[in-house]
Structures are given as structure tokens and as C-alpha cells.
Amino acid sequence: MTYDFSFWAQNLTNTGDDHAGRNGEILRTPQQGEEVAQKIGQVTMRTHGRKVAKEETRATLYATKAEAVLEVIWAQTDNLGRKAPVVGYSQIPPENHFEDFDNWAEQFVDSLDKFVIEIGRELPLTAKQVAREALSGIKKKQKVAQNKLKIGRTVGASIVLISLLAHPLVYLKFGSALYMTAKVQTLLNLPAASLLAGWGLYTVKQRKK
């Protein structure tokens, strides 16, 4: 699977054009720069960053379910003495391509390194390490989400099974008179109904994301 690796950095002189790149190519036109910045903005405006720091070097990861933005800050400064970050964007390997993850993260850091060299800067080893560490956060998040889903499915299936079994059990144990009462019917159907409602809400929420 191929991914879009786009990068952006502000000019160190704070004059002239800023730097943008995509898949190993430096982008020269303002429109191309805007495209990269727009993709970055759309992700960071929707998510909270997660920081990984080692001394004065740090990487902040912003990730939705499908896209990730990584900001790396190290000792590099501009003409005003301000730290000069470099930002990278890429799509995240989908859950069914989970085995691609390590390869993707390595490609991300390599492409970042190449972009930094192309714009005349140097990415120190520590910066690459924190970048890798920040990206691994996605893998952890995906694993936790998958585990939650598995647990949820197991619990849900158990509830449905129990509530289905409960009907004949109640009928056999207490007889049809009690079984037919509205209260008992509600009590028996409630777990399955709640589960279905919960499932519906979860699906809507996922679609909105």
C-alpha cells in the first residue's frame, strides 16, 4: 500500500516562501503549499496533540482514525531565535493493514529526514527517535481500540444469549401467567434492547468520525 507523505516548514528567515514537500518532491507553487497546509490544518483542528519529549527535542502527534500529523521540534531556530518545527502529514494504515504499521512509521520518519535535508536543515538522531516513539502511539491506540471492540462484542453476545435463554427459563420455572406480565417481558427484553440501542449509537458516532 502506498501513502501520501507531505511535509511543511516555515522559512528560517521569516521572509519569502515557506517549504512544502510531498513524497520526496519539493513543492514550489503557493497552491501546492496551501494543499499541504490545508491537510495539516484539517487534522490538527480536529484532534488533541500527544507529546513525546526528550530534553529540548519533542514530537507531537495529532491523529484521527485515518490521518496523522506529526510536529517535530528540536534545537533548530529561525533568525529571531524561535524554535523552527517541521510538520509531516500522512494517512494511517487502515486496521485491516495493521501489519503495515511499522513499515509505514519507518517510511514516515525517513521521508521527514529527506525533506529536512532538502530544505537545508539536519534532523538529529534524538528527533528521529521521538518521532518514531510518537508515531507508535497510533499502534497502541489501534490495539486498545481493537481490544475494546473484542471485549464489547463478547459481552454483547453474552447479554443477547442470556436474555434469549431467560425467556424459556422464566416460562418453564414460573409458568405462563407470570411470563406474560408486562413487567417481566420488559425485564427480559431490556438488556437486548439496550444493547441494540448502544450498538446503533456507536455506529452513528463512528460514521460521523
Binding site: T44, E71, D78
Partner: protein, 234 residues
């Protein structure tokens, strides 16, 4: 409440030049006026402007009541949700602050923020405007053209503030007193380029409110933010 705010700001905008002399002493005034809290409450604020105009410095000060601990180029838009403006003993909750990188590459994000904001703070380096720096002028004109096209679609228009920063780099600023700051402010507001930006203000407001100062230190930043907040009470 919104209506009261609109009337208040309209008054503020029309009266900006006249009251410019009072701007230096604006800090004391905002504490006394409960109108300010009502007006700013739940507003969405977009902070825009070219590179190195002090956007993040201002946004950070509005939220933390302090200047940033370290200085970093803006490479990402920052969305501060439900922050509380902190200015000495004053605390105001606003809906959110959208701080956008100054690079022209981020115009799409500017557009998004300008289309959502109730209040737009457009920062310019006042020292460069006074010096007639051609690059600054070109950049402002480029910004104005873009902003104008985005705001044309909006009805009602958001409130627009021009915030002139880096006055400390203008040699005349240091010697200013409360009495002659008004002339200095008027001179800035009368610059052709500032008048051009002012056209972005909504029609009923006539022109944008112009705020001027320095964020070199906490006192200067407090004064600038105090001036910004008190615009609505004038």
C-alpha cells in the same frame, strides 16, 4: 445580549479616534464594567496575521494571563476550546480561540477560521507600517484581498479588530505619554494601509477598531489586551 454587544462595539468603532487618548489608561476601566464580561462571553475568536506579528503571544496571554514560556514558529493551527481570558483579577470565558500560522500557505485555515469566528483579530507590525516597509504593505494587501472575499459571504459580518504590535520597535513609542498617545494612535489609524484593512469591518460598524501597543513585556501585553477588551464598553 448579542444586540447589546453589537451596539457597544459600533460605538467603540465610531469613537475609536476620539477616545484614543484614553486607551493608554484603558486597564483600569475594564474592571469596572460588567458589560465587558457579558459581551465577550461565548464568542469565537480568530487570531490571524502575517508571520512574526505576535499571534501566538497574544493568544497565549489571553488564555494564561502570561507570555509564552518559549518562542516557537507557528507551524500548526491551534484551537483553544472554551478558554478563560485571564487579565489580572478578571476572568472571562469565551467559546474558543483559533490561532493560525501566519504563512500564506495557511490561507485555507484562515478562511475556515474567518468563516466561523464572531471576532477577528488581525495583527500587523505597527513599526513596519510606520516605516512604510513595502513587503509588509504587500503582504497586508494580499491578506485584505483574501479576507474580503471570505467575509463577503458572511451575514452578519464578524467584528474586526486591527491590532498593531511591535510599537516598541518604533523609536517614538518610548517617549509617549498618556496625553499624546492619542495622536500616535490616530496617525497609525490614518495610514492608508490601515484604512484599507478597516474596510473589512462590517458595514454597520463603519470601520474596524484599531488597537495599538507593544507586547514586549507583561505590562505592555496587559495594556494591549485591556485596550482590546475595553473597546466594547466605549
Amino acid at each position: 445580549m448579542h444586540h447589546i454587544g453589537r451596539l457597544a462595539i459600533a460605538g467603540a468603532v465610531l469613537g475609536t479616534a476620539k477616545v484614543a487618548g484614553a486607551v493608554v489608561g484603558g486597564i483600569a476601566a475594564y474592571r469596572l464594567c460588567p458589560k465587558i464580561a457579558r459581551w465577550w462571553k461565548e464568542k469565537r475568536i480568530a487570531v490571524i496575521g502575517a508571520r512574526t506579528t505576535g499571534k501566538t503571544h497574544l493568544a497565549t496571554f489571553l488564555v494564561k494571563g502570561d507570555v509564552p514560556a518559549e518562542f516557537i514558529q507557528d507551524a500548526l493551527p491551534i484551537w483553544l476550546k472554551r478558554p478563560i481570558f485571564k487579565l489580572q483579577d478578571l476572568q472571562l470565558r469565551v467559546a474558543d480561540i483559533l490561532d493560525t500560522p501566519g504563512s500564506t500557505n495557511f490561507y485555507p485555515t484562515w478562511e475556515h477560521n474567518c468563516s466561523e469566528a464572531d471576532i477577528i483579530l488581525y495583527l500587523v507590525r505597527a513599526n513596519e507600517v510606520f516605516a512604510g516597509n513595502q513587503d509588509t504593505m504587500n503582504r497586508i494587501r494580499q491578506d485584505v484581498k483574501r479576507i474580503q472575499s471570505w467575509l463577503e459571504r458572511r451575514n452578519p459580518k464578524p467584528l474586526f479588530f486591527v491590532v498593531g504590535t511591535f510599537c516598541d520597535l518604533d523609536h517614538r513609542f518610548k517617549g509617549l505619554t498618556k496625553e499624546n498617545f492619542g495622536n500616535y494612535h490616530d496617525e497609525f489609524a490614518q495610514q492608508d494601509i490601515i484604512k484599507e484593512i478597516s474596510q473589512l469591518a462590517s458595514r454597520e460598524n463603519g470601520r474596524a477598531a484599531v488597537i495599538l501597543g507593544s507586547m514586549k513585556d507583561i505590562i505592555g501585553t496587559q495594556r494591549l489586551v485591556g485596550d482590546l477588551l475595553t473597546q466594547v464598553t466605549l
